[in-house]
């Protein structure tokens, strides 16, 4: 079962990047950055969303974000940060 945070992130990604997915489903395990679904501008918006809507202050490097790459792993990293 996905966490509320993962659900929140997934909804954001689906609503913001739907057109870029070209009809492919976006799931919690979908690669976001390595696939090009979320580009550089999108990465900035993603971090804004995490801070402003999820209330998590997080300062990852671009490389860290790319390594985590999926909603599942990102939500897990953020949950540990919140704890």
């Amino acid at each position: 079962m996905s966490s509320p945070l993962a659900t929140q992130l997934l909804e954001f990604v689906r609503s913001t990047f739907a057109r870029r997915s070209k009809g492919q489903p976006i799931e919690a395990t979908t690669p976001l950055f390595s696939s090009g679904l979320v580009d550089s501008m999108g990465m900035v918006e993603f971090l804004s969303f995490i801070e402003q809507e999820c209330g998590v202050s997080w300062d990852p490097t671009v490389e860290e974000l790319t390594q985590l790459d999926t909603i599942e792993r990102l939500a897990d990293a953020l949950s540990r940060k919140r704890a």
């Binding site: 913001t16 550089s40 900035v44 804004s48 671009v62």
Partner: protein, 296 residues
């Protein structure tokens, strides 16, 4: 928001036969934007380096220029004393929005407040820039990267809902920027002009085609499109609004294809909308989109 003041006396390099040159004014406006960014970050943008020691550039992905009636570029002349106020908002160390208010110095107050900026009906010309901090990778692509030797913490945060990146993304997906009304029909056929990039003239210190030069390329396409529709060479004209979204850049040895379409202004026969698209000849990739409202 802190508003940084700058001054400029209009000289011949800033002008063309119509008055103030639009691309050159955009260059000056972006120059003071980057100066303000350097001031807030405690380091000039030219000196910013990422963790690998690579140069960090503030690359423009969006501009929105609004000019009130009687204050278009042709209202400004040689030796006019201009003043600029620059306000910044940022997303962490990665992206910066610049708000530039400009006018004759005599028309502006000594200091600016947030109330001087108006999204709907500005009293003074104003320009909004969207930029990302990036470096060039081995393949000459721009890659998002924060500076390791500068912090933007002092800059107020840019709310997600107001980030112009969303307008740029929507423009890339829809081919529209929301300036030319959908109800305005296209007139005539699109005109196409080709521009061979001149690396000595068209590039900046980062080795990329300078963002303001895209507007210069578009001006030729706009004149050509208008001439085809109106059967006359367009001379004096007033830009009241221009919005540009940038999706990529071109190699300095590439060619650009600029396509411009005129849209009739309905009842307002003196105003037309022009949508311009710039694509790279190398791979036909769309790299910039502009919509402008122009009064004859």
């Amino acid at each position: 928001m802190t508003w940084h003041p700058y001054e400029l006396t209009v000289g011949l390099p800033h002008t063309n036969y119509r008055g103030l040159s639009e691309p050159r004014l955009l260059m000056e406006a972006c120059h003071v934007f980057w100066q303000a960014l350097g001031h807030e970050a405690g380091k000039p943008v030219s000196g910013m380096r990422n963790a690998e020691g690579l140069p960090v550039y503030a690359t423009i992905f969006y501009i929105d220029a609004a000019l009130p009636p009687a204050k278009s570029f042709d209202a400004f002349h040689l030796d006019d004393a201009l003043k600029f106020f620059v306000g910044l908002r940022a997303v962490r160390n990665l992206s910066v929005e610049g708000r530039v208010i400009w006018d004759l110095a005599s028309e502006l107050p000594d200091a600016a407040t947030d109330a001087l900026w108006s999204a709907e009906e500005p009293a003074h010309p104003q320009i909004r820039f969207g930029s990302m901090l990036a470096t060039r990778d081995a393949a000459n692509n721009l890659k998002l990267t924060p500076p390791a030797n500068a912090r933007l913490d002092a800059i107020p945060p840019l709310p997600l809902a107001e980030n112009p990146s969303q307008i740029t993304r929507a423009a890339q997906e829809t081919g529209k920027l929301g300036v030319v009304p959908d109800s305005w029909p296209a007139v005539g056929s699109p005109s196409e002009t080709l521009h061979t990039i001149d690396s000595d003239r068209d590039t900046n210190a980062a080795g990329l085609v300078y963002f303001a030069n895209y507007v210069a390329f578009m001006e030729l396409a706009e004149r050509t499109a208008w001439s085809a529709v109106a059967g006359e060479r367009i001379g004096q004209r007033r830009v009241s609004r221009r919005r540009v979204a940038y999706f990529g850049n071109a190699a300095s040895d590439d060619h650009l294809r600029i396509t411009a379409t005129v849209h009739a202004g309905g009842q307002q026969t003196s105003i037309v909308g022009i949508r311009s698209r710039i694509s790279r000849a190398a791979d036909d990739k769309l790299i910039a989109l502009s919509e402008a409202l122009i009064e004859r």
